[in-house]
């Protein structure tokens, strides 16, 4: 089966090696896009969060075969070279990471929040809206501060 996807702005034709393949495994094992992480493979941790047609999804719960024609954005496509996305820069500015394993998922989820427009820069609403992205290191305060700083600028 051949799958057409637009991944990080690039149209790709992918020969699906296995119909059981999830979007997460497709990205990680076949396209060398390992920024999205596998923390649980069950939709419970958010480490695999990527955007599909602008919506945040857990890559581990999305079968690749269902995505014909979709646009996929991963952490690798968020910025190019030295020009960071404002959310990436905010994570650095607020030391919003420790081990970094949850970080790509947190950032992609937060980038989706910018478009969703539900939370504003209200920390409590941001906490609610980001609660699908777990962090075991306890980087939560920095993450919420980083996200609120970007959402605040967005107005």
């Amino acid at each position: 089966m051949t799958l057409r996807l637009i991944i990080n702005g690039q149209a790709q034709e992918i020969a699906l090696p296995d119909s059981r393949l999830t979007l997460l495994d497709l990205l990680r094992d076949h396209l060398q896009l390992t920024g999205a992480k596998k923390g649980c493979d069950r939709g419970q941790c958010g480490a695999c969060t990527v955007l599909v047609n602008g919506r945040r999804v857990t890559g581990c719960l999305t079968l690749a075969a269902t995505l014909e024609g979709a646009e996929v954005l991963t952490i690798e496509g968020l910025s190019s070279g030295a020009d960071l996305h404002p959310m990436q820069q905010a994570f650095l500015d607020h030391d919003a990471l420790q081990c970094g394993f949850c970080t790509p998922g947190q950032i992609m989820s937060a980038v989706a929040l910018m478009a969703e427009g539900e939370t504003g820069a209200d920390p409590d609403r941001v906490r609610e809206a980001l609660s699908g992205n777990l962090c075991r290191c306890g980087a939560h305060p920095g993450i919420v501060a980083a996200v609120c700083s970007v959402l605040g600028e967005q107005g």
Binding site: R20, T34, C99, T103, S131, C137, G138, H140, P141
Partner: protein
């Protein structure tokens, strides 16, 4: 900001270890606080964790696991698995290639006994019982499912009551199981009042967000490369070599990025050995990535405890006796015992002081160290008991703790190397507004929720190991450091570079750090909050040693402005040497090297504690944690609404990263108090909530406003840098503070952690 010189893709480098320059970002007024060197790699997805790596002709491994906690594997349908397309091999105890060391043989304290398919015995649910190798992860997983094990199950011993009593001699790592100072029985008899508190704490699982992963490649018959997240790469590489019958130095562990460790990546476990073995046997690289469910059992946990504390209170609210009794759950095959009783032995002034540990062997995976092992669970119980005692004494919880302030270590009588706990109490109470504490059971917020304020004292020992580092100054005026450091999020990439640069008297921006491989000088393990002290001191000493060599070169060279100044007559500053008596006369490091015709000088350094200081002083980080909870009066839903922690941790090398560590500690304390618990099915011994939906680690919505403060503390004895650990102290005190806040709001004294809605509901 420019990131031009920064490696944007941290790819599968062939070299041994990764080299990172300084991050372009600095924090703080004046920009004095370096940001994480690994930050950019992590926010761009460029950082390669072990499971992210690929290899040519890679095979994927998956495990079949035991569905019950006790019994035997009678049959496995290996033919069905082998018949599945893509499956290459199935290992069971019948055909697993031989090992040079039996998995149950213990040659080293970190040599945890584990399951590497040595026999058909099942000793806990979730134990690996067969390994499937296949061309794809999907085929390996399907092959493992097709094994459909047939089991002869026996009734498991799952909990305290069913466990087999066992009296250990040691608990934790080499700590005594019992101790007594004075005479506790007499102290209790002489007390005006005695309070007694019994508390149960559950099994907890590290649940690092990164599941354990191993990519094993043989680069020759005696050269094994393991990409795997690891908290003690040099030590563990040596232990792995033992199992495989390899000489020292034959195994390299690369671990530049670790997605959280918390103690679970400091142990040997079966998958690590079997992955290497399979790669050797099949002549292809093999990758194993544990599933989340497989992290509940084979890779350790914090053992559950039952604790009983008895406190005798004399006149003026002074403690006359403290007795701490602990029964911890242990596995049936390994001897690690959660050392909770030690948490009460160095904190409060009490003349009659004792602790006793015993254990119950149960059919669970073996417990290991988990962030603040012993201290976390022991402190949680102790701090609740202290509040019960404060109430009995008629004193405010803070006043009671101050009236029992220990000026010397109550267990040994030694002076503290430094102890700014009083300042922590004052700073924390001030920031929290403790003086305005409502009367017990009288707090209400605008929504009618019950408000409670509680506090707890934090304490964590200052561990140090022996570590080494190598630092070079180059002719172009830059420097480089090499050390097998371990950054699992605490910031070693950044802080070890700071330490090396400090020893060199240079700006860390001019220093590249190479780390993340076991072939580099041994920075010792990252555990027990001792990594910065050990590896950081080694890096600093290595830098100092390099500068000494530069000084010797200059002072012996008639062409140098420093000629004849003698080593002690020269000052190093900002990459320059100058005369102590005339700072205008000097030259840069590169000028010294250029004239000597040298490309570089190399310094060596060791980090370890001075023996006399170790024997002469008690060394601890301290802190005071204050918490507020709001409780729904009808549903008993408990929310922590704010926390303040003030800590004294010696010298603070990087305030931004210390803040992140301390916040992480408070969050773990909150999680201990309200969330975390593994639940076992008494019939099968299986963990019922072996996933991140059922085992609750805190989500963003659980975490309130946190404030962390550090108070100044100078410590000339703890180590040459004057630093204490910050990674674990924040958990201690905080679980107790939350429990005490709930007690303050409701009058309910918790008898178990996590504190449950149903427990509180019965007391509203």
């Amino acid at each position: 900001m420019s990131h031009d010189s920064y490696p944007m893709r941290v790819m599968d480098a062939a070299e041994h270890g990764l080299t990172l320059p300084a991050a372009p970002l600095r924090y703080g007024s004046g920009g004095k606080v370096p940001a994480r060197r690994d930050g950019l790699a992590k926010v761009t997805g460029a950082a390669l964790y072990a499971a992210d790596r690929q290899a040519e002709a890679l095979l994927h491994a998956a495990f079949a696991t035991a569905p019950v906690a006790r019994g035997r594997v009678v049959a496995l349908d290996t033919q069905a698995a082998l018949a599945h397309p893509g499956v290459v091999q199935v290992y069971t105890p019948a055909n697993r290639p031989p090992l040079a060391q039996h998995p149950d043989e213990k040659r080293h304290p970190f040599n945890f006994r584990h399951e590497a398919l040595q026999d058909d015995t099942i000793r806990y649910a979730g134990q690996p019982i067969a390994m499937v190798l296949a061309e794809t992860p999907e085929a390996a997983a399907e092959g493992a499912r097709l094994l459909a094990p047939e089991i002869a199950a026996e009734p498991p011993r799952v909990d305290h009551d069913a466990g087999t009593p066992w009296q250990p001699e040691m608990v934790g790592f080499f700590a005594p199981a019992q101790a007594e100072v004075g005479d506790v029985a007499r102290g209790l008899a002489e007390a005006e009042q005695v309070v007694e508190v019994e508390i149960e704490t559950p099994d907890q699982f590290h649940n690092a967000m990164e599941p354990h992963a191993i990519l094993a490649r043989w680069e020759g018959p005696e050269k094994l490369l393991l990409d795997t997240p690891n908290q003690g790469p040099v030590m563990i590489a040596g232990l792995v070599a033992g199992y495989l019958g390899l000489p020292e130095g034959a195994v390299e562990i690369r671990t530049p990025f670790i997605g959280g460790g918390f103690g679970s990546k400091l142990m040997i476990y079966g998958a690590m050995i079997l992955t290497a073995l399979a790669a050797r046997d099949l002549g292809r690289p093999v990758k194993t990535v544990l599933s989340r469910a497989q992290m509940y059992g084979p890779v350790g946990h914090r053992a559950g405890t039952r604790q009983r504390l008895r406190l005798g209170i004399g006149s003026g609210g002074r403690l006359t006796a403290l007795d701490h009794e602990v029964t911890a759950l242990a596995s049936s095959f390994e001897d690690f015992v959660e050392p909770s009783g030690h948490a009460s032995q160095h904190l409060y002034a009490v003349p009659n002081l004792a602790m006793r540990h015993s254990a119950r062997r149960v059919d669970r995976g073996t417990p290991v160290a988990m962030r603040a092992p012993g201290e976390a669970s022991g402190s949680a119980a102790l701090e609740v008991a202290m509040d019960v005692a404060a109430e009995a004494a008629g004193l405010d919880p803070l006043a009671f703790r101050l009236s029992n302030y220990a000026e010397t270590d109550p267990a040994t009588g030694r002076p503290f190397s430094s102890k700014a706990l009083r300042e922590c109490y004052a700073a924390g109470a001030e920031a929290f507004g403790w003086a305005g504490r409502p009367a017990a059971r009288m707090g209400r917020d605008a929504e009618g929720r019950l408000i409670g304020w509680g506090m707890g004292t934090s304490q964590y020992m200052c561990t140090m190991y022996r570590g080494e580092a190598r630092v070079k100054v180059h002719a172009d005026g830059t420097a480089s450091a090499a050390i097998a450091g371990v950054d699992m999020g605490q910031g070693a990439w950044t802080i070890l570079a700071q330490c090396a640069a400090e020893g060199l008297s240079m700006d860390p921006e001019r220093l590249r750090l190479t780390s993340g491989s076991s072939v580099l000088p041994d920075g010792a393990v990252a555990g027990g909050s001792g990594h910065t002290a050990t590896a950081g001191m080694a890096a600093s000493e290595a830098g100092r040693n390099a500068v000494e060599q530069l000084i010797s070169l200059a002072t012996a060279d008639p062409a140098s402005p420093l000629f004849g100044a003698g080593n002690s007559g020269v000052v190093a500053r900002d990459g320059r040497l100058s005369r102590a008596d005339d700072p205008s006369r000097g030259e840069s490091y590169s000028e010294v090297l250029a004239r000597a015709g040298l490309a570089e000088v190399e310094g060596q350094g060791v980090g370890e504690r001075v023996q006399a200081h170790r024997e002469g002083y008690a060394m601890f980080s301290h802190g005071a944690v204050f918490a507020e909870v709001a409780i729904d009066p009808e549903l008993a839903q408990m929310r922590v609404t704010r926390m303040v922690g003030a800590f004294a941790c010696g010298r603070i090398l990087n305030p931004r990263m210390v803040q992140s560590q301390l916040e992480g500690g408070l969050i773990w304390g909150l999680s201990f108090a309200l969330h975390e618990e593994a639940q076992y099915d008494p019939a099968t011994g299986r963990i019922l909530n072996a996933d991140l939906a059922g085992y609750h680690v805190p989500a963003h919505a659980d975490i309130p406003q946190l404030t962390t403060l550090t108070v100044a503390e100078e410590d000339p004895y703890v180590n040459a840098l004057g630093v204490k650990g910050v990674g674990e102290v924040g958990i201690t005190g905080s679980a107790g503070a939350i429990a005490n806040a709930i007690r303050h709001a409701t009058g309910f004294t918790p008898t178990r952690f996590p504190i449950r809605i149903e427990d509180v509901l019965a007391h509203l």
